[in-house]
């Protein structure tokens, strides 16, 4: 039970009155953003959902088929293979840059001679245009004319077929992805390392901890939030990777490196099967959302425990 004085009531009434008067005037400020969000995010998704429930081929009549396109996904071997390729490619394209990027960050965190210059050179691949990179790597991968096999021959290793063989194509593509995106992970982790407190290390050194123990029990747990940020960024990036894959292999040989993105592109824009392509897009979207939620949950859990519940 509360007792309001007359002055409280007057202030309260004035406040309510002001709110009532002001509230409608805020709306015009929201409208432009609302229109943009509805126009470029909500509407395309609702429309994609609607298209996914249609048999819709360009140049032919459209008809409602309900969930038929989704049912078709379960029996489409090419789609299931593309799912597998996507997951393998994503996992490797996250893991390899993560390990190498962390190692590079640890190296660049020490006082190397010409550290700034070396760091600048190291991040250069990240700045290059993916399609240009892909074209250069395509030439390097060539089994007869490529420089990679030439370099291998200098150390007595026989020629590899790189992206020209189904069994090595995904690993070769991961190599390109790793080369380009390891610097990003390095930069993120390096930022984390710079923010670490020095006291725990001093204490560990006094206690006689080895370099490995200091890394394993101090550095690694403390840079975990930064690693999770790198994992989230890399995962989403690798999942939606298209340019490098399309330029180098177009999903080949055969369909050995066809990811969902490439398959979706073929279905929608070369077979003109818009309905089925939309169903694939919806499933892909759900997959990305799920992965993002899992990663965000893990990121939350990996946050530093400050002891005050924050």
């Amino acid at each position: 039970m509360s007792i309001l004085t007359s002055s409280d009531r007057v202030v309260g009434a004035a406040s309510v009155g002001r709110t009532k008067r002001l509230r409608p005037s805020y709306w015009p400020f929201v409208v432009p953003a609302l229109i943009v969000v509805i126009g470029v995010i909500v509407f395309p998704w609702v429309f994609t959902l609607w298209m996914s429930a249609m048999e819709w081929r360009i140049g032919e009549e459209q008809r409602f088929v309900g969930l038929q396109n989704y049912a078709r996904l379960f029996t489409d071997v090419r789609f299931l293979e593309a799912m597998l390729h996507t997951l393998v490619y994503t996992a490797l394209s996250v893991l390899a840059p993560l390990v190498l990027g962390t190692a590079a960050a640890l190296a660049f965190n020490t006082k190397l001679p010409a550290r700034g210059l070396l760091r600048g050179i190291f991040v250069m691949p990240m700045m290059a245009t993916p399609v240009a990179i892909a074209l250069v790597w395509t030439m390097m991968f060539h089994p007869q004319l490529g420089v990679l096999n030439y370099l291998l021959s200098l150390v007595g290793i026989g020629p590899l077929q790189w992206v020209y063989h189904p069994s090595t194509v995904i690993l070769s593509l991961v190599l390109v992805e790793t080369w380009q995106w390891t610097p990003l992970v390095m930069l993120i982790v390096l930022g984390g390392l710079a923010a670490l407190p020095t006291e725990p290390y001093e204490s560990a050194q006094i206690d006689g901890a080895t370099a490995w123990q200091r890394f394993r029990y101090l550095t690694l747990p403390m840079i975990k939030p930064f690693l999770m940020v790198a994992v989230i960024i890399r995962s989403i990036d690798a999942l939606k990777s298209f340019d490098i894959l399309y330029t180098i292999t177009q999903g080949g040989p055969g369909t050995a490196s066809e990811t969902i993105n490439l398959y979706l592109y073929s279905v929608a824009f070369t077979y003109y099967d818009i309905g089925y392509g939309s169903a694939i897009a919806v499933v892909f979207f759900v997959l990305i959302i799920m992965l993002s939620l899992i990663l965000l949950y893990l990121r939350q859990r990996s946050a530093w425990n400050t002891g005050d519940g924050q």
Binding site: I58, G59, P143, Q144, L145, Y164, T249, P253, G254
Partner: protein, 450 residues
């Protein structure tokens, strides 16, 4: 000064029949080019003041048209706005715009071997027959000069004419004369001889291989369908029934498998025409089977190590037939165009003898017009060796369409191409073709359903 010249030439062209009498070979100072012959009685300036939009495939052929566009504008008084887009993207753009019913262009460049049936079914192109029959727009006999393949491509099932035949691509065998001479071999005349020669030329220790052709999924399908023609069979019959798992189809696939596994460079499963061309340019491949249009870099000293050493061979004879696989481009007027006559004049100019000669001489393409190929004066100006022109002329005599005239050509190429790629990795041809045929059959049936 230049203005004066330009004006004078415009006036000259505006005088109607002058263009025909004068001939552009003299007017433009280009040696060996034929006169602009189809102008007698045609009123080229009837649609002066009209503006048309032209959608071209980015290619040496598209470049040639764009380069000489001013000539057409001066001849007709029609303003041309043209754009060139890379092949894959141009196909997508054209289909999407045509489906909308309001394309932004009046003239469209199409790949017959991929889009013919799709365009026919969509009724996206205007029937050019009334324009061809109109003496004010077309000279009599305009169509007579096109090769049989060109007319087959251009004619619709209902007898109308869609796109006019622009450029043809015959598949030939490029062969390295040096490598053949070293092994004392002569160019094969049959499929069996081709397999034997390819095996004899192959020496992995020196990274020399007897044969190369496309192994990449989708790109490789025309290789197999071309071999299939040697068994006197198409991949789809006249009623659009698949013939892709017949004994002949399996034999052709076995031949493809043999050549690609026993005599081709490692990694050939990932080879499109560009990788094949690179390998051949290095002088490490005995034979390369592909379209005749890929020849110019082979004779370019800056790009090639085999300049002057390349033989241009007719496709060897198969067990049942001798056939040169054929693909091609056309230029048509959209059904939705509001300037059909003006657009038709552009198509007529683009597919005329003069433009055909230009394509041939520059190595930018091969015209469907037989008279251009047979013209001794034109041949004098061709940059490529005489053997190349001979291969073109002889191929025209045994020309057959290599890809089926169906709507889902890309899916056909993807599904069958995947099977062919698997064969290079060791799969059984009969089993692969059976599976691929079963996979593609419902796609084909669905495409013709509505």
């Amino acid at each position: 000064m230049s203005n004066g010249m330009s004006l004078s030439r415009r006036r000259l062209l505006a005088s109607g029949a002058a263009a025909g009498a004068l001939g552009f070979s003299g007017a433009l100072g280009l040696p060996g080019l034929p006169a602009f012959a189809q102008t007698n009685g045609v009123n080229w300036r009837k649609y002066a003041g009209t503006k048309i939009e032209v959608n071209l495939i980015k290619s040496p052929r598209g470049d040639t048209l764009t380069k000489h566009q001013k000539e057409f504008e001066e001849l007709t008084g029609i303003t041309v706005v043209s754009e060139q887009t890379p092949e894959q993207q141009q196909r997508q753009k054209a289909v999407i715009e045509l489906t909308s019913g309001r394309p932004s262009f009046d003239v469209v460049h199409i790949s017959y071997h991929v889009q013919k049936r799709q365009f026919e079914k969509g009724k996206w192109l205007a029937d050019l027959t009334p324009f061809i029959k109109d003496p004010a727009l077309t000279d009599a006999g305009f169509l007579d000069d096109f090769s049989e393949a060109g007319v087959t491509f251009a004619r619709n099932p209902d007898g109308g004419i869609g796109a006019l035949p622009f450029s043809v691509d015959y598949w030939i065998v490029y062969w390295n004369k040096d490598l053949f001479a070293k092994k004392n071999l002569s160019f094969p005349k049959t499929f069996d001889e081709m397999v034997a020669a390819a095996a004899a030329l192959t020496d992995p220790s020196s990274q020399t291989y007897g044969f190369v052709a496309r192994g990449m999924k989708n790109a490789n399908t025309p290789v197999w369908t071309s071999l299939l023609l040697g068994y006197d069979q198409y991949s789809v019959d006249a009623n659009r029934n698949l013939l892709t798992d017949t004994p002949e189809a399996v034999e052709a696939a076995k031949l493809y498998q043999t050549l690609m596994t026993k005599s081709a460079p490692p990694g050939v499963t990932g080879f499109n025409w560009a990788e094949c061309q690179s390998a051949f340019l290095q002088g490490r491949v005995g034979m390369w089977f592909d379209g005749v249009g890929f020849a110019p870099p082979l004779e370019d000293p800056e790009k090639s190590r085999v300049v002057g050493k390349v033989g241009y061979g007719l496709m060897p004879k198969g067990p049942k037939a001798h056939a040169a696989a054929t693909t091609g481009d056309g230029i048509g007027v959209t059904a939705a165009s509001k300037n059909k006559e003006a657009a038709y004049l552009y198509c007529q100019w683009a597919t005329g003898k003069l433009m055909g000669a230009r394509l041939l001489q520059a190595g930018a393409g091969v015209p469907f017009r037989t008279s251009v190929l047979a013209d001794a004066e034109v041949r004098k100006g061709v940059k490529m060796p005489a053997a190349w022109v001979d291969a073109v002329v002889e191929s025209a005599k045994i020309s057959r369409l290599t890809l089926p005239v169906i709507i889902p050509v890309t899916e056909f190429r993807d599904v069958l191409g995947g099977a062919l790629t698997n064969m290079i990795s060791g799969s059984d041809p009969a089993a692969e073709l059976k599976r691929a045929t079963a996979d593609f059959k419902p796609i084909l049936e669905r495409s013709e359903k509505t």
